[in-house]
């Protein structure tokens, strides 16, 4: 999460446009993207709240300001619409600095993403996705956006972990001292996933 000043109170921002503006600033400052356009699309062709490019990667950003389900549908529809019309959009929006023909990544920012969504989405999608949780803080005059990326569980599609994956997970979590073997870890994960 971006380190906020310690004295910032939570701030309720009800204007979706204001939230989108804050997110756009964060996309530029933190993700290092160049913003191509805002608010592309509509309820029928999907919504791309921010179209941005960084190192030839096209970011289709959707900001959830109300319902996560609506934001997700808007993001998916917007992606489909973008891919279908990419050549046309590249002629309109693209430039040498901001080409629109590169890889595409869906970016969804949500104030309150549903629990477990970071396990569900990767198992369903082919397109690359980044999911962020955000909170608005500060004052109405000086709002501040705190953003935290949710780690997507790429292994969620399978019930078992390969041996190499388990070893890497043990190292990553720093739990070597516990002496857990791969079988015990796999059984624990299966037990936690059991209904």
């Amino acid at each position: 999460m971006s380190p906020p000043p310690r004295t910032l109170p939570p701030l309720v921002v009800t204007d979706p446009a204001e939230v989108s503006r804050l997110c756009a600033r964060w996309i530029t400052d933190v993700l290092g993207c160049t913003i191509v356009d805002f608010g592309i699309g509509n309820r029928f062709i999907g919504s791309i709240d921010v179209l941005a490019v960084s190192h030839d990667v096209v970011h289709l950003v959707t900001v959830d300001t109300g319902s996560f389900a609506d934001a997700l549908l808007g993001a998916f529809t917007g992606y489909w619409w973008f891919v279908e019309n990419r050549a046309f959009l590249d002629r309109i929006y693209g430039s040498e600095d901001t080409p629109l023909m590169g890889d595409v990544v869906l970016v969804i920012l949500s104030r309150d993403p549903p629990r477990g969504i970071q396990r569900i989405l990767p198992s369903l999608l082919k397109v690359k996705l980044r999911l962020f949780r955000y909170a608005t803080m500060g004052t109405a005059e000086e709002p501040f956006l705190c953003v935290e990326e949710l780690t997507l569980d790429e292994d969620s599609g399978g019930e078992t972990h390969e041996a190499g994956d388990v070893e890497a997970l043990v190292r990553e979590l720093g739990i070597e001292e516990a002496g857990l073997d791969g079988d015990e870890i796999r059984r624990l994960i299966a037990a936690l996933r059991a209904a």
Partner: protein, 285 residues
């Protein structure tokens, strides 16, 4: 707007007295004047598998609740040196100790209650910090027999295999698989290293996750632990993390002191109360 609809401008005496006015002691009876000889240190490791900041919050709240009940409390922060960690979170409650201080620490002073010394990793062994606090006077005369030493554990698992062993270990975790796996690993290390140490689990709920979902997750983890390692763990409840929790951490305003009836504050107080009920009553989880 009727009077009933108006927001309250002040708080009732009972609200503000939870910490600052020790109006009663839940366990009753006269309070003996504490002495070094009376103190019977009970060591408690506090560990969060995913969030150091929530670990600070929990450690601080446990120590403050201990002081509120009139027992001695000490914090040894194994994660930080200087004005970080629990000290940062304690914010304006910090004061320099008036008595002997061997560990370079400072303490929390709550009006009418015993001081809570905080030592950090500059005092390399928490049992030394424990010894240094026995003669530390508090503002009140309420400290009774027990002294609880809360060790804010370092996140590396090696911490649990070094140094002295605790009487109790409070393990907090989020409900994702990685966090639960790390919590389980901590249980296994403590079960092997300190089989006599009692273990407790706190689950942190996010994004409106219902408490009964946390209960089911605990049952799955506890059941697996029983079957695979014979390790027993008691459940202290669900700690709700919300905007107020985030504000408490960012603004160094201890959540335990916020008297709002928020779910986050209530859940934190509930977890601390359940833990101290078990420990002070000497009950086996």
């Amino acid at each position: 707007m009727s009077m009933r609809d108006r927001p309250r401008l002040g708080r009732g005496l009972k609200d503000v007295s939870r910490y600052f006015l020790a109006d009663s002691h839940p366990r009753g009876g006269p309070d003996p004047v504490p002495t070094s000889e009376d103190a019977r240190p009970i060591s408690v490791f506090v560990f969060h598998a995913s969030s150091p900041e929530v670990q600070f919050l929990l450690t601080l709240a446990l120590a403050m609740e201990t002081a509120r009940l009139g027992r001695g409390a000490l914090i040894w922060d194994g994660m930080a040196q200087g004005a970080q960690g629990v000290k940062r979170l304690a914010g304006g409650l910090l004061a320099r100790p008036g008595g002997r201080d061997k560990g370079g620490g400072c303490c929390i002073r709550l009006y009418g209650l015993g001081a809570i010394p905080i030592h950090d990793a500059a005092c390399p062994v928490w049992s030394q910090a424990e010894a240094s606090c026995l003669d530390l006077p508090g503002d009140g005369d309420t400290a009774r027999g027990e002294l609880l030493v809360f060790v804010n554990a370092s996140p590396d698992m090696g911490f649990f295999t070094r140094g002295d062993l605790p009487d109790h270990t409070v393990i907090a975790a989020r409900t994702d698989e990685r966090s639960l796996l790390k919590a389980y690993a901590c249980m296994r290390v403590m079960d092997r290293r300190a089989p006599g140490s009692r273990m407790y689990l706190v689950l942190e709920a996010h994004g409106g996750e219902p408490a009964n979902q946390c209960d089911r997750t605990f049952e799955k983890l506890a059941s697996f632990a029983r079957e695979n390692s014979k390790a027993a763990i008691a459940y202290l409840g669900c700690l709700i993390a919300d905007d107020e929790t985030a504000r408490s951490i960012h603004e160094a305003d201890p959540l335990a002191l916020m008297m709002s009836q928020s779910p986050a504050g209530a859940s934190l107080r509930g977890v601390c109360s359940r833990f101290l009920d078990l420990v002070l009553a000497g009950e086996t989880p």
